[in-house]
């Protein structure tokens, strides 16, 4: 005979005792009756249309169509962006939590796409947990299989969460041709003028304008959950407005970036943007385009005001020198070695904090590309004397010192080998 381990006291009795001791905490007030006709009320509050299907009900809201032309040719030239003919679908979700684990529900999806120069936006709202199959079906129908998704941080959040919702329903997630997450691109290109990369910050910094009365992201889950438990429907309006604005921002960010894809149009862009764009091209090994961006950035520099303050001058000079260094590297990657060496030489002559770097790069180029070890040694020695001076000033540059001594030793050995017969004959 084997007694069962779990206690034979029925769970109900234990629950009653458990409840009795917890009763004083004042629980129970949240036990509200299930609100009827919630979908109707949401539809009415948000000005949407209630769509009833076999698997449930959802609400569909059409926003006013907006004239928002997008330069697809320019956009297609940007690194990591889809080709001209690919349909784009902007997507943004509102959820009951921050994680992508299974208990977080997507209750609102905002979608936006172009029909010619017009930007159309549609929102789907989930009125109750039970209606999720219908909601997900409707969403699937709105995602054309050949389209690219456009999101902000959607690779890490919105899309994995939607995939979770489909998988939980034991259905494959919708297929899209690609996913353009604007966050990394925006961060790479515009970081020099962004305090952080949140969509709201980006809007203010790049597109201008501040959303007044916008709901805070952290408030959103509670608004929805509260509504499900019988709370008011009206606060959801602010959430829907917030979402539709986010979708609009995605479209405007695309239009804003597309400008940089036009080689003529980009001439007016900020120097930092062009440098960032060059980094973006370089990441995709599109070196010629990176070079063009750097050239445009350096050309724009000549039009800067004639008498800037001394401090601005110093920073802008350093910025320009960085661009020059970037340009020299790009030249080398393009195989234009002589031009690269010339650039390093120019940079070394200019003075400033990048001189040691320029000298070392110059030495590399002279040694390996121009077979001039003696010239390389001269450049290395110059860098060495800079390192010595830095040490005397109490600001040693240990990395540079190591680099100089190693390179010097090797160059001397190479020179010794080259001159062996000469040295030998002298000794003889």
């Amino acid at each position: 005979m084997s007694p069962t381990i779990a206690t034979s006291v029925p769970l109900e009795r234990r629950l009653a005792n458990f409840r009795a001791t917890r009763g004083e905490a004042g629980w129970g007030r949240l036990s509200l009756p299930r609100p009827g006709g919630l979908a109707e009320r949401i539809a009415a509050a948000l000005g949407g249309e209630m769509v009833r299907g076999q698997t449930g009900t959802f609400i569909r809201i059409e926003a006013a169509v907006e004239h928002l032309p997008l330069d697809r040719t320019g956009l297609a030239r940007l690194p990591g962006h889809p080709g001209e003919d690919v349909p784009l679908l902007c997507l943004d979700t509102e959820t009951t939590g921050l994680g992508t684990a299974t208990g977080t529900v997507v209750f609102l999806v905002g979608l936006g796409w172009w029909e010619g120069p017009s930007f159309r936006r549609v929102q789907l709202v989930l009125p109750d947990h039970a209606d999720e199959p219908a909601f997900l079906n409707a969403l699937r129908d709105l995602i054309p299989s050949g389209a690219w998704l456009v999101t902000y941080n959607g690779r890490a959040f919105d899309w994995p969460l939607l995939v979770t919702r489909y998988r939980l329903d034991r259905r494959p997630p919708p297929i899209s041709a690609g996913h353009l997450d604007l966050l990394p691109f925006i961060r790479r290109v515009f970081r020099h003028r962004l305090p952080d990369a949140r969509l709201r910050t980006v809007e203010v910094a790049l597109l201008g304008g501040y959303r007044h009365g916008d709901v805070e992201s952290w408030q959103i889950p509670a608004i929805y959950i509260d509504m499900l438990r019988g709370g008011p429907v009206e606060p959801l309006r602010a959430v829907a407005r917030h979402n539709v604005e986010d979708v609009r921002s995605l479209a405007r960010l695309l239009a804003y970036s597309a400008r940089l894809g036009d080689p003529v149009g980009r001439a007016a862009a900020e120097r930092g943007d062009l440098a960032g764009l060059a980094r973006g091209y370089a990441r995709e090994r599109r070196q010629a385009e990176a070079l063009a961006c750097l050239d445009a950035a350096l050309a724009g520099d000549e039009q800067s005001p004639a008498w800037p303050s001394a401090r601005e001058d110093r920073t802008s000079r350093l910025e320009r020198q960085r661009l020059l260094a970037e340009r020299a590297w790009t030249l080398r990657r393009l195989g234009q070695f002589d031009e690269a060496i010339a650039s390093w030489r120019d940079l070394a002559h200019e003075g400033g904090p990048l001189v040691p770097l320029a000298l070392i790069e110059l030495a590399k180029g002279l040694e390996w590309r121009q077979r001039d070890p003696a010239g390389a040694l001269r450049a290395t020695d110059q860098a060495g004397s800079l390192a010595d001076r830095a040490r005397q000033l109490g600001r040693p540059l240990p990395l540079l010192e190591r680099e100089v001594s190693r390179r010097r030793r090797r160059l001397l050995a190479r020179l010794a080998r080259q001159n062996r017969h000469l040295v030998g004959s002298q000794a003889g």
Binding site: I5, T7, L15, T21, G103, I225
Partner: protein, 765 residues
Amino acid sequence: MRHYSPASTDTVLGTLLEEPSIARGVVHHATIASRPGRYSELPPWLDERIRTGLASRGIEQLYRHQALAVEAIRAGEDVVVVTPTASGKSLCYSLPILQAVADDPSARALCLFPTKALGHDQVAEFSALSAASGLAISTATYDGDTPAPIRSAIRTAGQVVATNPDMLHAAILPHHTKWFQLFEQLRIIVVDELHTYRGVFGSHVANVLRRLLRLCDHYGSRPVIVCCSATIANPAELARTLTGRPARLVDENGAPSGDRHVLLVDPPLLEASTGVRASALTLSQRWALPFLRAGRQTIVFGRSRTAVELLLTGLREALREGFGPRSRVRGYRAGYLPTERRAIERGLRDGEVLGVVATNALELGVDIGQLDVSVLAGYPGSVAATWQQFGRAGRRQETSVAVLVATAAPVDQYVIHHPEFLLSGSPEEARLDPDNLHVLLGHLKAATFELPFRPGETFGSGTADELLAFLAEEGHVRQAADGRWYWSSENFPASAISLRTAAQENVVIIDTTPDRPQAIGEVDLFAAQTLVHEGAIYLHESAQFHVDRLDWDERKAYVRRVDVDHYTQADRAVTLKPLDVFGRDAVAGGARLHGEVMVASLASIYKKLKFLTNENLGWGRIHLPEIELQTTAYWLAGEGLTGWRRTELDVALLGAGRAIQTVASVLLMVDPHDLGLVTQVRSPHEEAPTIYLYETVPGGVGLSERLFARHDHLIAGASALIGGCPCDAGCPACTGPRLEPDLDAKGLAARLLGELGAPEVLTAG
């Protein structure tokens, strides 16, 4: 004995037992005769590649238990394998997994190990076997140390995933959609070291498994569950409670073994009035030394880090005096680097390391091969652990020796004076209660988060609706229009549950020793009162920590690593009030009961006690508020007791209660601190003298009901413990520290137990 010539284990043991000072301490000497191996052919259906792999590792046939287990798993039956250490348990599950993947490469298996180290060890072993079989099986451990980029690869492509219950609970189950390939094709779940899943931890893990199986159901898989356990009294029942499904018991050990001597040793009594005994450490060294000098591989187990260091120093010192193999004796405990540990394990396997002094870090299945001698300095707390430590010595052919040296602690004394406990089948039951509401409700939240509940769906022992309705009142879940229950909160419920504590409000223990302080554990409030009050010595993984500051409002205890020779013990002032009686039954002298109680506890004072001898070194005050604990209890009301003087009854109740508490902790495999004792000369509830044993875990883990059921054993055991103790009139080893020096606590407690129906015992005192 100063000779270092190699000698056989038999010879050394013979010489040792001829020495009167040693022989006198031997309380019991049993010889377990050698046993030939019982073998079975490899099953005919086994893949040719696996056969080749086994052959390359020298395996041509299986032990009987392996063959039985493998066939049952093949037939789709859940299995619980119970055989001693190093009997080839892991092959019982490795073969079916290999075969499943050989048949169908999309098949998956999930292995649960209680510790990270064990997981890594088993994965390495499994990988070696699968490589030898030429099967390219993707095997990986998924734990807190797994780097993020590798995690996603394991999720989608890991065929055999080893993890621990905490990781399964917090990282895998809540993200199950990212693991859908695993869940859809899950064929085998392995639960190794089953016996460690008891008490609060076991109650949690049972619920984690409920959640796991519920998800398997969702994804349409029905995996076989293979449990492996050390020897306990109720393995099949434990497996059933833990997994919720019946399992076939495989306990016919087919591995061969040589003769084995088991010796139970008691250090000499120094003072009969206080029960002070000589040090168990010194005696353990005396037992280990001759074997080491004779070149026999020996392992010595200490109960704490300090004990290990003392033993190690002592042994090396003694060996140095005579230029012995000093450098071949090593220490092994938590806190050593993994590479250091691996080197010692390897050294033990190839014989380079002759002796090792270890904490229970070496108790679980880490592979160190088989040694000649195992010496335990102190009872490790359970019969199962004792045999796991004994099992480290045991050659297939030659004689091996296992020695248990008792300390003066009551449980130690009880165990060695009742050799039948260790030798004739384990009496220990592993207990857990998956329906403890504190535990159950937390996991029900997590389960709802993972997958909505259908109306009428069961979770564990019954339908979940009523419990879900309760959670809905608290606002965590809601019932939608389709009748299903959905998670409706922004929170992530798994993060609120710690698998080691029952209640959700815990004190976090923060180690301030390293430059960056880190959390090393959690204790619930009730335990915090006596474990982490300011000035306490807190033991964690055999290391000692001094509690510098306890921030009660913030629920944080700041500790610092120390090495001291004492521990602390706090006294609680406890009042207890029964809330609900679940069971009542008349017994000799009164009635036994069990039910729910409310315990109010105030800790006000603590003592510093020396390790091993339990000498009192001083005391301190505790300044903490009173706390209440709702839990379950077993109690004994002496309604039929007559003719007692009040003062005597007080002493008798306390003495008998202490002895019952000791016996209960042995029977139910729990730490003595897991059961609290309250005695009342006249209980307001029962209106009679009463002994209460309450569970210190909120809600209890099912111990009380078992104590109620085993009432007769408790009374008889307590009576035997007191009767068998060599002290004069009560000592810490039987009736507890003497509070009334003029009264004969021992005699009074024995008389009380007699009136409560204890059989006549011969007293040794």
